[in-house]
Point group: C2
Chain length 342, copies 2
DNA sequence: CATTAGCACTCGATGATACGGAGTGCTAAC
DNA sequence: GTTAGCACTCCGTATCATCGAGTGCTAATG
């Protein structure tokens, strides 16, 4: 257990290092307001904190920098969120520009978030699994091509163009789609496949010629894993951080950022609320010396999305956590308003 | 006018510099196959080429590097495209994985292109202006929200969720959409607005209550500038180039790449075929020391898209030009096949 | 007994200096 | 016209000394 004084010193060191990115020496601390101790005393405390694993040195006679354990302690026990009304107002004014679509709101939020922090913002769009099917439509474009359109009750639209095999008649497909529409409207997307298998197939068999082929075909078209939508803002912002002096680091970081589905995996977290992953705590090797802070937001009921910021381990945790908290609830609010008439 | 020998030397220098990124000295050239001259002679020729503006020195006693004028000459008069069948085969095999959608094909092409070159690939999706409206649909989600869906004859889908003002009745909107569908099906997207103004408005006035409001509303929903779709592949690849030792350069480059619409402007070119812009020839300041090579491709008739590669001025022009030529025609072919049944 | 002043020591950053290598331009010889 | 030879330039690298910031330890202090 840390003493009051150790806690104070740890806090000062981390705050200072977050701010300057340089190792912090005993003199600097002793001159801080609220510290009435000499540098020598501070040095003793620092040595203790290092023994306990909260601090590190870059070389034998350097100042101290926080270890990952130090950051963890800082995040868990030291920081007290402070709300900056002004920053939330920025988001609010942006959100109130009257967007019609979730996509726009989410993308905007990512941009604002990145701009406010100079880190990279990543937002996962709301998962569509809990939403219900509103309508399936199959629109023939020609004798041998068509476009399928799937609409959920939250206004989410998925579409797909495809060509129609020569031995398949448009009328058969149409019949099938009619049946699907009749039976599937209101069914949660996540249950689509089983409902089709358990309840709809026999109907089709009855009414549709060439059933097997048409079914195999349609399932390819409609029933497909929907990739998670990923919104990223401010990839280049992160490069301003001094830890990016090393070009290889930049390259490996950007390579990671290009694979959006990989990022999605990284972000997906079952936990509600704020979640901080520091350095090695991250699952993915490529960001083992970054920190990722995520929060969840909600869209009309059970749909859940994730909003996060990726930055150096030397991250402004307090600010970011506060900000994500605020953004999470503001986005939930804004999206709720958009849907509340449903 | 350059002599045969100057031409040869210029070619060797540029080829060598493209390959190594280091200034090329006279000794290296004199040892090349096909060169039976001493280094001293080469030096004289190099001095002449510098006077003519085709070469530059980085300092008084350095080897030579090509000037932009040199690259320009190289592109216009020296390189003879060589086709590498193997590279095109890669694209073909990728394209034949049976994609249904333009988006997928184009995105894949961008990735392959970047992978083959280690430059950044940028592709503008086909402009939708020449396509015709297939169907307009307005699907109410609740009493006060709806989703609009617009489908073109090429299977392109645009959708938009929006809330419905409280004093507007769904039935009115429905009537309007019916009229729109009746009258607008088959009309080129680019003419939508004028057809509505000239032919459809009076019909609506006749049949729809609360016409003004509904019209103002619908036009907001349906008639809107469509942003060009931009597909980018391999942003991080470019960073491997040695000209990116400077971090600020990376940052400014990536900032540019984040604004897709800015990129679109950069790429849009009225000219058919291959187009090479070297260094200062680019309109945008941020890429004044890059080269951008673009080519056009076509989708079923008049729709035109642009495909391009962004790299350092020290770019493998021959390879890139060949590749873009091939990709342009392969993409045109693949997309034609996709649509040919229309 | 906690605190602190003092001191020797370590290490990184900076700057001066020297030096080798790659390359050029020029001159004179072939 | 071509080339060998040479003086010269400039970059890059290695070496070295120096300075400053910081530490750990010891002994003195209240």
């Amino acid at each position: 257990m840390l003493t009051e004084r150790q806690l104070l010193i740890l806090k000062i060191i981390i705050d200072e290092f977050i701010d300057s990115a340089h190792p912090v020496g005993s003199r600097v601390i002793s001159k801080k307001d609220g510290i009435a101790l000499s540098a020598a005393t501070i040095r003793n405390e620092m040595a203790d904190l290092e023994d306990l694993g909260y601090l590190e040195k870059t070389h034998t006679s350097s100042g101290r920098i926080p270890s990952e354990k130090g950051y963890r302690y800082y995040v868990d026990h030291i920081i007290a969120p402070t709300i900056k009304r002004s920053e939330i107002n920025i988001l609010n004014s942006v959100l109130q520009e009257g967007y019609f679509e979730v996509e726009q709101i989410v993308q905007k939020a990512a941009e604002v978030l990145s701009e406010l922090t100079n880190y990279t913002a990543i937002i996962l769009g709301p998962e569509i699994y809990d939403t219900k099917l509103k309508q399936i439509q199959l629109l023939p474009l020609s004798a041998h091509s068509a476009v399928s359109i799937l609409v959920t009750d939250t206004g989410h639209v998925e579409h797909r163009s495809f060509s129609v095999p020569f031995d398949m008649h448009a009328s058969d497909l149409e019949k099938m789609v009619n049946i699907l529409n009749d039976r599937l409207s209101g069914v949660p997307i996540i249950h689509l496949q089983e409902v089709i298998r358990d309840e709809v197939i026999h109907l089709m068999k009855q009414y549709v010629n060439n059933f097997e082929k048409a079914y195999a075909y349609l399932s390819k078209v409609f029933i497909q894993e929907q990739p998670v939508k990923v919104y990223v803002g401010g990839k280049s912002n992160l490069l301003l951080q001094p830890e990016f002096r090393d070009i290889n680091k930049i390259h490996s970081f950007l390579s990671v950022m290009e694979d959006e589905q990989e990022i999605a995996k990284l972000m997906q977290t079952s936990k509600e609320g704020i979640h901080v992953r520091i350095g090695q705590e991250n699952d993915m090797d490529a960001i083992k010396d970054f920190s990722l802070i995520t929060a969840t937001y909600h869209v009309y009921g059970d749909q859940t999305g994730t909003i996060g910021l990726l930055g150096p381990t030397r991250m402004e945790y307090r600010k970011v956590i506060t900000l994500l908290n605020a953004f999470s609830s503001e986005m939930t609010k804004a999206l709720y308003l958009m849907y509340k008439n449903n």
